[in-house]
Symmetry: D2
């Protein structure tokens, strides 16, 4: 029985991830993401209302039209975490396949929301929950397993497909973090076990493969310490205080909340996507906020909350969207004096997020910071650790799984190549057992693991 990995999206860019694994006649799809960066090229892109084929042409979602030539039956669509570059195209593509959607509860909840917001397509696939540590039968010969992992959104897992020819591991995206508060540590024991059982191939993220200086990604515990040190004085000052971070990063938001809850300030989580991710997480018991914390997403509610905060700034801690300076997000709007909360001399702003390296983010963030500073705010910026594995983490991962074949994914060619160099240092060889695929190409494995 031949096994085939089909690269649909995310093999030429950071974004719009989608891969398919074909085992005999059964096909399993992993991820259906969007590539937000492409939206800037065509300013008139309206994702919710546009048809898949238009979005495919604009490079916004994966081009899955090649799937019609794949001779097999799609048995499952699997999502390993809930970031938009992994689930964002679900409402545009999933209805084409008669197969259940499988993911962890938080990811399922986010997918459900995405499907509800869709204006163009009616998505009726079954939504099936699978927890980390659990397995489910996909077809007579194939079992899907979710292995506990850590990343920067709750309930991220590494997926393993048990097939007659060996195990296929799908590891987009992960970090090895033993000190998160919401997520247990990655299940290294099980990963090693899989390695011993026989991994035919692994598909692996490459986000930080070319960052040669950062060997092992720092734990969230580091971010917690840094945030504690940074937030300590501002929380006690009689001035305004804003923290901004990724709205889906519950681990970080929990840390911020834990630190803030020792002060007298009341937390206001503000912004539409803050409501989306935190609201869900709180309802599901993932995020634990103090009783007096509030989450507001609608413009009206946000405005009212900002007006209250403006009236008595030292009583509140605002946690907002807008860490990249995106013009329509909340913090940039505050910086640009477009809300009722006006920055005053002495206000403190903590940006617990890096600049996602892209010239427009660099420009937007710079403009936001200059506006904040010119209104008198003090800005703190180095309170962040990455959610992606570093080079030495990848080395550990390869050694644990000991796969026969490696397929780097989720990056442009320079990133896939940088990963290939790590794998070559570990004894693999590009073209032999490391395979760099381009969107639309497939890699066939004829002999499985015996």
């Amino acid at each position: 029985m031949s096994v085939e990995v089909i690269a649909i999206g995310g093999y030429e860019e950071v974004g719009k991830n989608m891969s398919a694994v074909k085992v005999g006649d059964d096909v399993v799809i992993f991820d259906m993401g969007i590539h937000l960066d492409r939206v800037h090229i065509h300013e008139d892109t309206d994702i919710a209302r546009m048809h898949s084929l238009d979005l495919i042409e604009r490079g916004v979602i994966p081009d899955d039209t090649l799937m019609k030539d794949v001779d097999g039956k799609v048995r499952a669509i699997v999502f390993t975490h809930g970031h938009l570059d992994h689930i964002g195209a679900v409402a545009k593509l999933a209805h084409r396949y008669q197969a259940p959607i499988i993911a962890t509860p938080y990811t399922i909840a986010l997918i459900e929301r995405t499907i509800k917001a869709e204006r163009k397509f009616n998505v009726l696939n079954t939504l099936q929950v699978l927890n980390a540590g659990e397995k489910c039968q996909i077809s007579p010969g194939i079992t899907l397993e979710f292995i506990q992992s850590t990343h920067s959104i709750p309930q991220s897992v590494i997926a393993a497909l048990h097939t007659p020819e060996g195990i296929i591991v799908y590891a987009l995206d992960f970090k090895f973090d033993d000190h998160q508060k919401i997520s247990p540590p990655p299940d290294y024991h099980r990963l090693r076990e899989l390695g011993r059982k026989g991994v035919l191939a692994m598909i692996v993220e490459t986000t930080r493969a070319n960052e040669k200086q950062e060997v092992k990604t720092h734990s969230e515990k580091v971010a917690r310490i840094v945030l504690e040190d940074i937030m300590k004085n501002p929380l006690e000052e009689k001035t305004g205080m804003i923290v901004t971070t990724f709205s889906s990063h519950m681990e970080r938001i929990q840390a911020i909340s834990d630190i803030a809850s020792k002060s007298d300030r009341q937390m206001l989580l503000l912004g539409r996507s803050m409501e989306r991710y935190c609201g869900l997480a709180e309802a599901m018991g993932i995020l634990k906020l103090p009783e007096n914390a509030s989450i507001y997403g609608s413009p009206k509610a946000v405005n009212r909350a900002l007006a209250r905060a403006e009236a008595k700034r030292e009583d509140y801690l605002l946690i907002t969207t807008g860490h990249q300076g995106e013009p329509d997000a909340l913090l940039p709007r505050i910086a640009n004096a477009k809300t009722q909360f006006r920055i005053q001399r002495g206000d403190n702003v903590v940006i617990s997020a890096p600049v996602i390296p892209n010239p427009m983010n660099v420009a937007n963030r710079n403009l936001m910071e200059r506006r904040l500073a010119s209104s008198g705010a003090r800005i703190y910026t180095n309170a962040h650790v990455s959610g992606h594995a570093g080079r030495e983490d990848h080395r550990d991962f390869i050694r644990m799984l000991n796969p026969m074949h490696i397929i780097p994914a989720h990056g442009d060619l320079s990133m896939l190549s940088a990963y290939a160099e790590i794998a070559e240092e570990e004894g693999y060889k590009l073209g032999n057992d490391i395979h760099i695929l381009r969107n639309g190409q497939a890699q066939v494995f004829n002999g499985g693991i015996r």
Copy 2:
């Protein structure tokens, strides 16, 4: 008689240059520029209609309010070239002083235009032409001399103020280029002569002081060769062709025109500022375009020209504004498919300008290039040389003038400091005979040159 150099603007930023030199009771002002970068902080800034004091508060123009405390009479307002960071505030500030405006003919013509466009103030100062190589009496004891220089706009000069206490040299901005076609080489002979007569102080630009790798700025002759090599094939291809460069850079536009005039393409110079600078320059006999070349500035005329070019793209060479990707300029609008001229596969775009290093330019330019490329254009970008002196040019300049005192200007503190390091290598010492001033500070020289 004491001499005083008063730093009004441009000592804490690249932009809004303005300095005053007070000799006894006579004051000479150099430059009244704007700082366009500050406009982005306050989006609602409408320069033409705003009052000086508002613009001063927003950091857009120099804060010359300190001049009311200067006990002396302003005898002249001198401009050494026509870039906006040197002349752009003339219509906001000049009317406060009863003194003639003195500049070379092209600069005077640009100032005249600026004054005419002003909506708020009525500027009635006399406009007085002084050519390179000429002198004029400013007051009984003070003579102003313009020395032939080279930069990236025609008729740039270095100014020398002959005073009883020695010569004051004002050298913002210059490069040493012996091979320009429009401008004669800098008058090194006269600079050395001034050095021997006795320079009390020089005020000098620092644009490239911290570029440690670029020792002597390359001549425009280098840009000409590079442009010839780049433009040769595209001119002959049956596809569209666009060149963009600084609209005030006549030397470069002349080079482009000379190269293009050997082909069968007709040149269209398009965009409002292209018309402003090139129209004037052509009328004054500075720029010599082939007979079939046309310049269009108004949106309507530009649109008609673009429609013609769209119809028969291989017959035209478009020379447009927009090298920084500024959203409202022409090339970015073409890239964004907002004009009748649509980029097609195979069209060639030559960007003969560097990215002016500022995050918003980097982002805009990147977006423009990606749009052009995604429509199929081929882009050439390394066809440029700087218009500013490099470190070794500055060293030569110091050795020629041998000034008693040096005041670096036209930069932030890191640039002024980098210049101070060059001067220290030449035997000067910060605090003794190198003076770093901040906007609003003055340096008094009590003993002149004997």
Copy 3:
């Protein structure tokens, strides 16, 4: 009574720090450091045997010859911590002054060693211990106080000179770290108290002033967590293991020791400077090593220890010198197969130190890492936090002390300028109350604090 700060060394470079403060007729000297970087220019420099004047000419030690023109009596030579760029020239310069040497116990012990190793001069100054939190009378009008601080060597302090004209604070070098295990947190309370009493001037380090991204320097607690995560697996593997870090960084070595002591490996601290700093620190009760740990400094003892480790590599943890790849230090010699301990495939090397940014270090470190890797070692490099205040720490420091005047020190002009920019953001102005001095210049304060 006038107060004068005299910049002797360290105002044009990172290294050879030396400053003098003159209050009336009394002079207090701070630091006498060396500038090791200059030794590379003159390869034949033999510090221990050369005369001060030769070393001064070569730029290796501060040029204190100007002190003979200072009309006053040196009352004390004060050292605030024991790094070589602060104490390294003590044996070359101190004997010229009839004044006691004052420092904390660990610093005094290091100075004593330096004096004993000197071959050229006989240094007989009294060595006087002053602990953090203590004061001593220097002259009838002047009292010296040591304030608890944190840095990357034990018993670092910030010095305050109480004079009739106000307090002079000397803060080279420090970080704000509330979580060190060896040092208590900085005494913020006392710093604020000094601020309220009236600080006439502060002399302050600028090491990280131009690192715009690093706002608050991370605590050593971060390094501890990172080291724990990195060292965990290697400690358990049956392979060789080496950690290298700064030999004077007791806080870090303590952390490494604490982590290692939970494993079965025996610690060997190897290398001459490792013995120098750790031997002293252990003897003084500062560093607490497990019973079975050993420190070896002499080549013979080191060789024997390495032979033992080679015989049974999984039983030892080697802690060595050589983190910069300096050819004669231990780790580079191991990497170059010049010792009995040979790197084998699977050995782990943890480099808990950044590359000190200088092209020769970059080259040496790169060569060492490539040699280690080509022998099969796995290298971990990002386990470090800085020992110097970041921009926001400096902002806090200025707000605590609220000094009348600021003198940035310990850097080249670009660093002093970068610090000046921070101070300008805090309301000071260069030339008014921020003073950039060059080696050999003095700043006089005529009116003190009332």
Copy 4:
């Protein structure tokens, strides 16, 4: 008949290039270079006396042991230019093959010298000259053609192998320079003709593939203008003057000589490799020096020449080796005061070479420049253009040749990948018709061009 490209060396590094092309039973080898960088890892490497297998193990020369498994007869060993990373291993490897060595006259002369200097092996292969524009029959079915090209050493060619299955082009290394004085422009006409006849595959250099800012490599004409501008004043000053550049770069040395010959200075070309390359080139009529120029290579002759120059420095122009600061080369030795020529204040040093980007070069060059500067020399550094094609040149090259398959070579994986990106922009696809090989891998083309 199948065609196979075998990657022997240079596919994982910049250096030790060697490729083989097998057409049916006939094999043609291209290049046998060395990888000097690897020598630093093993300090005791003595190339001239070491055996091939040892050098292979150390990574210094290509591992051609795989050739024993290639079922075919080597018909020719072809060298397309004389740089060491292409010819340096000829004396270690060529004797293993019974085949003639084919190259242009200057390259043959350099190979002859290399063979004569060899201590370990006796190389007896026939040396056969082939000029640019000529062809020679290699076997009944295969013809070799040399096409006129340009690079940074004289008589560089692009090789074309005409086979029954199509043409194989070998293009390591080249630039497109229409304005060299020694070499005619590249034969674009013939390249286009080959493209029309049918290129099965091209093997192409990638040196600058990842330099995204440099689109078309500047012509040597640019270097000439820049050197003229830089050298003009120094040639007339009454001080010492040194120029250093690549000793094999005849085009550059000719330019320097042409500029210098208009002055009164006598040229001394000094250093062993200067003698090697320039002596040969002058003897062969390639380099034309003025009558009073002299070339000295032996230490004794160099010393005597330096003594003369020291006695009357304003009469000479020294052209030396040592542009990378390599400790044993001449200019670094002068900088370190180890020769009789001592740098004095006012001497001018022109470094007409970039820092070859490698940490040890960066360090050596920095140290040399600091030493020169600290002795009072003035240093000019930006007088260089690259000898390698830029991204847009590569695009032109692909369009001219229109090959069925592309094999990027002469670089590490990141460079091969960067080239692949250019090729993908031109419509190729990695894995389909772009093939990234690792050392030791082969690519078989089964269907040729019809």
